[in-house]
C-alpha cells in the first residue's frame, strides 16, 4: 500500500512537472533577436493600419487623429469572459513605452509579455506570429512616435479556468504557429504568384482576418479546416460572413473586393457595417496594390475543408 501511494505521488509529481514544462511561456531565440533590424517607421505605419491596432486599442468611436491615441478600453465580451484592450500607447508607466524592441517582438510573435507570462489570444498574436521580424521591428519603430496616453485600462474579467494564464501554454502548443494556413492558391486559379503571396501575408499575418472570419472550436482555437468560412461573432450579436469562394462574397470580383476595402461599399451598394467599418477604414489607408493583393488571395482561397 505504501509503495502504491509512493508510486502515485511520483506519477502525480511527474505529471505536474511535465505540465509545468509544457506551459512555459516561450520567447524568441537568440538568433531571431539578433536578426531584429533597427526598424523603419514608414513601413511601420503601413503595418499599423494593416494590423488594425487602433480598432481595439483606441477609444471606441475614435475618429481622425484620435485613432492614434492607444489608451485601450474596448471591451470584448466573449464566451470565455470579458477582455479589455490594454493601453499600448508610448506612456512609460501605463502603456508600453518602457518595452524594448525585443519585448515588443516577443509579444507580437510568441504571445509572451516582458514579465514572461502568457498573453491572452484576444490579442491576435496567433496571426501576428506569421509576420516577419523586420515588419515587427518597423511597427515598433512607428509606435514609439505615437502619443503617450496616461491611465491604465480596466482588467480582464475572466472566470475559472480561463483566469489562469499559465494554462494558456497548452493552448498555445495547439494553436500558435508561424506557418501559413493556405499553402497554395486554389487549383485553377490564375492569381499572380507575387500578388497572392503578398495577399496571404497580409490576410493571415498582420490583417488577422481569420480571427473573426473563421469558426472556432470549443477551446477557442481557430478551426483551420473551415478557414474563412464565416463564424458566429465572438463578441456581440450576429454572424461574421465567410470570405471563401463558396460563401457570402463568392460572386464578387477581385475589383469588387478591393473597392469594398477602399470605399466601404459592396457591389450592390450596401455599405460596410458593424466592427468591419473600423477595419475597412484601416484598409483604405493601405496602398491600392495591397488591397488588390488581399483580393487576389481571397479569390484564390480553396473552398473550406480542402486546404
Amino acid at each position: 500500500m505504501k509503495k502504491l501511494v509512493a508510486i502515485l505521488v511520483i506519477v502525480g509529481l511527474a505529471g505536474a512537472a511535465a505540465g509545468w514544462i509544457l506551459t512555459v511561456p516561450e520567447t524568441l531565440s537568440k538568433t531571431q533577436i539578433a536578426d531584429l533590424p533597427s526598424g523603419d517607421p514608414v513601413n511601420g505605419e503601413l503595418l499599423f493600419w494593416a494590423g488594425g491596432c487602433t480598432s481595439c486599442h483606441a477609444a471606441p468611436g475614435a475618429t481622425g487623429d484620435d485613432k492614434l491615441l492607444l489608451g485601450g478600453g474596448l471591451k470584448l465580451e466573449t464566451p470565455f469572459g470579458d477582455f479589455v484592450a490594454p493601453n499600448i500607447s508610448s506612456d512609460q508607466e501605463d502603456g508600453i513605452g518602457g518595452w524594448s524592441k525585443v519585448d515588443f517582438a516577443n509579444a507580437m510573435l510568441t504571445g509572451t509579455s516582458p514579465q514572461g507570462s502568457h498573453l491572452y489570444p484576444a490579442f491576435p498574436y496567433t496571426s501576428y506570429a506569421r509576420m516577419t521580424l523586420s515588419d515587427v521591428a518597423d511597427l515598433y519603430a512607428f509606435m514609439t512616435f505615437l502619443p503617450a496616453v496616461s491611465g491604465k485600462a480596466a482588467a480582464h474579467e475572466l472566470g475559472f479556468p480561463f483566469n489562469i494564464r499559465r494554462g494558456l501554454g497548452l493552448w498555445k502548443l495547439l494553436n500558435l504557429s508561424s506557418e501559413p494556413v493556405v499553402s497554395a492558391p486554389a487549383a485553377g486559379s490564375d492569381a499572380d504568384p507575387d500578388l497572392w503571396q503578398r495577399g496571404r501575408y497580409l490576410v493571415e499575418g498582420p490583417g488577422h482576418c481569420g480571427e473573426c472570419h473563421t469558426p472556432r472550436d470549443l477551446m477557442g482555437g481557430l478551426d483551420k479546416s473551415r478557414w474563412m468560412s464565416g463564424a458566429a461573432a465572438a463578441s456581440g450579436e450576429g454572424r461574421v460572413p465567410g470570405l471563401d469562394p463558396e460563401s457570402d462574397i463568392g460572386s464578387w470580383s477581385a475589383a469588387d473586393i478591393a473597392y469594398y476595402l477602399e470605399s466601404g461599399f459592396t457591389p450592390e451598394y450596401d455599405s460596410v457595417g458593424g466592427e468591419m467599418v473600423s477595419v475597412q477604414e484601416n484598409m483604405a489607408r493601405l496602398p491600392a496594390g495591397d488591397r488588390e493583393a488581399i483580393a487576389a488571395y481571397l479569390q484564390a482561397l480553396p473552398a473550406a475543408d480542402t486546404n
Binding site: 450579436e237 455599405s271 460596410v272 457595417g273 475597412q280
Partner: protein, 151 residues
C-alpha cells in the same frame, strides 16, 4: 381568350394588392423596402460616380429624391416590439433611441441639403452630383456601424 387573360391579369394585380396590404401592417417589411430603395438609388448613384453609368441630371435628381424620401420616412418604422423577427436591426436602435434619432436627423439633413443643391432639374454634371451626394453616402457606414447587425 381575351377575357381569360384579362381575368388573370386582374387576379395577379389583386393578389399583389393583397400582399402589399399584409406587408403594410409589418414595419419590418416596410423599413426593408425603404432601405432597398436606398440601396438601389445608391447603386445608380455609385455607378454614375464611377463612370459605369452615363450621368444625366434627371437620374442624379432621382437618386437624391429617393434618398431624401427614405431619410424622412425610414425612422417611423421601428416601433417597440419590432426588434424581433426577420431583421438585421440592432437592439441598440431601441437601447440608444436618442443616438438613432440623431443618426436619422443627420441622414435627412444631408439629403435635404442635396435636394436643395440639385435645383429643379438635378445637379448639372457628375462633379456637382458627387459634391451633393458625398455627405449623404457618409451616413451609410456610420449608421450601419452602430445600428445594424449582420445575421
Amino acid at each position: 381568350m381575351r377575357k381569360l387573360v384579362l381575368g388573370m391579369a386582374l387576379a395577379a394585380v389583386t393578389s399583389l394588392g393583397v400582399t402589399s396590404v399584409i406587408a403594410a401592417d409589418d414595419p419590418i417589411e416596410i423599413r426593408k423596402s425603404i432601405m432597398q430603395s436606398v440601396g438601389a438609388a445608391a447603386g445608380l448613384g455609385g455607378g454614375m460616380m464611377k463612370g459605369e453609368v452615363a450621368y444625366t441630371p434627371a437620374a442624379g435628381k432621382a437618386v437624391i429624391a429617393a434618398m431624401d424620401a427614405s431619410a424622412h420616412s425610414f425612422g417611423s418604422f421601428f416601433p417597440a416590439g419590432s426588434e424581433a423577427g426577420d431583421t438585421t436591426a440592432s437592439p441598440k436602435i431601441w437601447e440608444d433611441a436618442a443616438g438613432f434619432e440623431a443618426a436619422l436627423a443627420k441622414f435627412s439633413e444631408t439629403t435635404g441639403a442635396a435636394m436643395a443643391a440639385s435645383g429643379k432639374s438635378g445637379p448639372a454634371d457628375v462633379d456637382a452630383f458627387k459634391a451633393a451626394m458625398g455627405p449623404v453616402f457618409g451616413n451609410c457606414k456610420s449608421c450601419h456601424e452602430a445600428f445594424r447587425v449582420k445575421k
